[in-house]
């Protein structure tokens, strides 16, 4: 079918924005899954999660600048981000297990301040770009324009998400994770090594955030030490809408948020963006805290 001439027809514009939304949403899903893994397991929010995303993006950037090929930089950034998550567990969660339940959350906020300022010292406060060509392959899929990087992002995201999902459902270790999140004491009595489960969960959540960081920087062009703040919050919104503790919910929540954000920018104005997203967040917390797919918490 030959491409439509300008101006865009309404359905075509809508579909194109939908594609944009799905790609953006995939990165949000990765962040949301990381949040929900930790929240489901320890019943606590890691506010520095967004900063792990930021750190993964910068790590990937530094590696790519050294000439390391992109796929390798991605994997190394993933590992680095995972390790950072473990460090956060060690400093902000483990020592505070007996303290007030909110202490870990506050400690991660402080750790986030530390991360942002250290990143500013290392990489500067101005936006950085990945060294790569701006020419990418574009495909005409019917009425919409899709780039090769869109496909890459969605593919990697789906692959990782399905992988985690299957891992948690089918493997023995995955069962141990689910048991620990249900009732840690019982799980421990049944022989589960709680600490190992916790470390692994944190590593995974960090690794996912790191991947999201690199993908975001690759496609969406620029990063600063302060992007983690917003991306983390949006991931939290996606997690709540999808359903806390629910992996599939986080996936779908992320996609929904991506689409909503893009549609808002297309049909309204970017100023309303955050008020719509946080308004939705508030409505869900108050009226439907279990989200779309979660189970009702007692």
């Amino acid at each position: 079918m030959p491409p439509h001439p300008y101006p865009y027809s309404e359905p075509r514009m809508f579909l194109q924005q939908l594609v944009n939304g799905v790609t953006l949403g995939s990165t949000y899903s990765l962040i949301a899954i990381g949040f929900t893994l930790v929240l489901g397991l320890l019943n606590m929010l890691n506010i520095a999660h967004g900063d792990i995303f930021m750190f993964g993006a910068f790590l990937g950037l530094s590696l790519a600048m050294l000439g390391i090929p992109l796929y390798l930089a991605l994997i190394l950034a993933m590992l680095g981000a995972g390790i950072l998550a473990i460090i956060i567990e060690r400093l902000c969660f483990r020592p505070l297990r007996k303290a007030h339940f909110l202490m870990p959350l506050l400690s991660t906020i402080a750790f986030g301040i530390l991360l942002q300022n250290v990143a500013t010292q290392i990489w500067g406060s101005e936006p950085s770009r990945y060294p790569q060509t701006t020419e990418v392959a574009q495909f005409q899929l019917g009425p919409v324009l899709v780039s090769s990087i869109d496909i890459l992002i969605v593919a990697i995201s789906i692959f990782l998400m399905l992988g985690i999902d299957q891992f948690v459902r089918r493997t023995r270790f995955g069962r141990a994770m689910r048991a620990t999140s249900e009732k840690a004491q019982t799980a421990s009595l049944l022989g589960v090594d709680i600490n190992r489960v916790i470390i692994f969960t944190f590593f995974t959540s960090g690794a996912l955030a790191g991947v999201a960081g690199v993908l975001t920087a690759l496609v969406y062009l620029q990063i600063t030490p302060f992007i983690g703040i917003r991306q983390g919050l949006i991931g939290m919104v996606a997690m709540v809408i999808g359903g806390v503790g629910n992996l599939r919910g986080a996936m779908i929540g992320g996609l929904m948020i991506g689409i909503i954000e893009v549609m808002n920018d297309a049909y309204f104005t970017a100023s309303y963006r955050d008020i719509i997203l946080f308004g939705l967040f508030l409505i869900f917390i108050v009226f439907k805290p279990e989200g779309l797919f979660g189970k009702k918490e007692p």
Binding site: Y6, P7, Y8, M13, Q16, Q17, V19, N20, G21, T23, L24, N117, T120, G124, S125, E126, P127, R129, T134, V136, Q138, L145, S147, T216, V219, Y220, L221, Q222, I223, T224, F226, I227, V262, M263, D265, A266, T269, A270, S271, R273
Partner: protein
């Protein structure tokens, strides 16, 4: 014989008196030592860390040049730098520390209009001048007479010049505008500055009063470009910062748009020509100073800056100057000129009078000969020349007028 001598002496005295009256012998003013203190309040941490450090280096470079020439009438300058952390509360403390503890004569800074909004009224309360190095929010200095000055050029003056050249080159009849709605300067450029600048040149603004919008440092611009493309304008005006502009144009080329883009000074930072490649060729902008300028004053500044950057806040983000440190450099020279012209005494008992003298000097400064500064206008905003540039061959190249 004696009569001739007395006539000669009398003539001599008269001639001498005449000469002295027409050309008064300059009396070196007595400046008290041991040092002349100038304050700098910029962001060393936070969002503006990179640019704040450059501004501090620019100010210090000026001090280096002046002290190398013996200071001011033999008294050296000393710079006191306090961090504003890109944040109004910290900035207020920084200004208080400079004025109250360090007892500086005047302050170079701040950076950011949102910081100036709180430090300018404070400066009026404390009666000390601030010469901001970056702040384009319209009306900010005007609302804070008499001690607030901004050594920056408001974007409307730059926009007018750029739009004129843009229309001339590309024959623009209708234009669409895309703007940042979070960053106050970009938002103001996109919504308040560009539309009248275009209309003033008889260009239709297709987006009316509803420009295409995004937020600073957004990670993608798909939706926005799709919208712009659908309107099919002759050219696109942007209210944007450099890195965002780069991404906007790149995405536009990706989606097949061929129209030229233009904006004002902020997009000349962020290495748009170097990183944008083919996509950004032919983009127009304008500014008050650029590294490619070759006047003697400009070269002296660059040399002094690069020297100082080797030992102060050394990093790859500070080694090359942009126009912000120029504003700081010129501001220091302005203060020094003020000290000389107003006979500032620099003695502790005269601190308030000295500060007030500098304020009067700045308020009347119209013909300053700085690297990129001419003085201030009646509302305290900077007066500078505008240079229009286009992107050609990976660089910003000035347009011959």
């Amino acid at each position: 014989m004696r009569r001739r001598k007395s006539i000669t002496i009398t003539l001599f005295v008269f001639v001498l008196a005449y000469v002295l009256a027409i050309h008064p012998v300059p009396v070196a003013q007595a400046l008290e030592g041991p040092e002349i203190k100038i304050g700098v309040a910029v962001c060393i941490t936070g969002h503006g860390a990179n640019v704040g450090k450059r501004e501090a280096i620019g100010a210090q470079a000026a001090v280096d040049v002046i002290n190398a020439q013996g200071g001011v009438n033999g008294v050296p300058l000393k710079l006191y730098i306090e961090d504003t952390a890109s944040n109004p509360q910290e900035a207020v403390n920084a200004v208080r520390k400079l004025a109250g503890d360090h007892k500086v004569l005047g302050i170079v800074g701040p950076h950011y209009s949102s910081v100036g909004e709180t430090t300018f009224p404070l400066g009026n309360q404390l009666r000390i001048i601030q010469i901001a190095v970056a702040s384009s929010k319209p009306g900010l200095a005007a609302a804070n007479r008499p001690y607030a000055f901004r050594n920056t050029l408001t974007e409307d003056k730059i926009a007018g010049a750029v739009v004129r050249e843009f229309k001339k080159r590309y024959g623009i009849q209708k234009v669409a505008i895309i703007t940042d709605i979070k960053d106050a300067v970009s938002r103001s450029v996109g919504t308040k500055v560009l539309p009248p600048a275009f209309k003033g040149q008889g260009i239709e603004v297709m987006t009316g009063d509803k420009p295409v919008t995004y937020q600073t440092n957004d990670t993608q611009f798909r939706a926005q470009i799709t919208k712009l493309k659908a309107m099919n304008p002759d050219g696109v005006g942007m209210g944007a910062l450099g890195p965002d502009a780069l991404n906007i144009i790149t995405e536009a080329r990706r989606q097949g748009m061929k129209q030229p883009f233009m904006s004002t000074a902020p997009i000349m930072e962020g290495e748009v020509p170097e990183l944008g490649g083919k996509a950004v060729l032919g983009t127009f902008s304008g500014t008050i100073w650029h590294l490619s300028m070759v006047t003697p004053a400009s070269k002296k500044f660059v040399e002094a800056y690069k020297n100082r950057a080797k030992t102060m806040y050394t990093s790859k983000y500070t080694e090359t100057p942009d126009y912000y440190p120029v504003n700081a450099y010129d501001a220091v020279f302005m203060i020094v000129e003020g000290i000389k012209a107003m006979c500032v005494s620099n003695s502790a008992g005269d601190l308030q009078m000295d500060r007030d003298k500098l304020m009067y000097y700045m308020a009347a400064l119209r013909d300053f000969n700085g690297v990129a500064s001419r003085g201030f206008n009646c509302v305290g905003d900077g007066v500078k020349d505008v240079h229009v540039f286009e992107i050609k061959g990976g660089h910003w190249v000035p347009i011959k007028k």
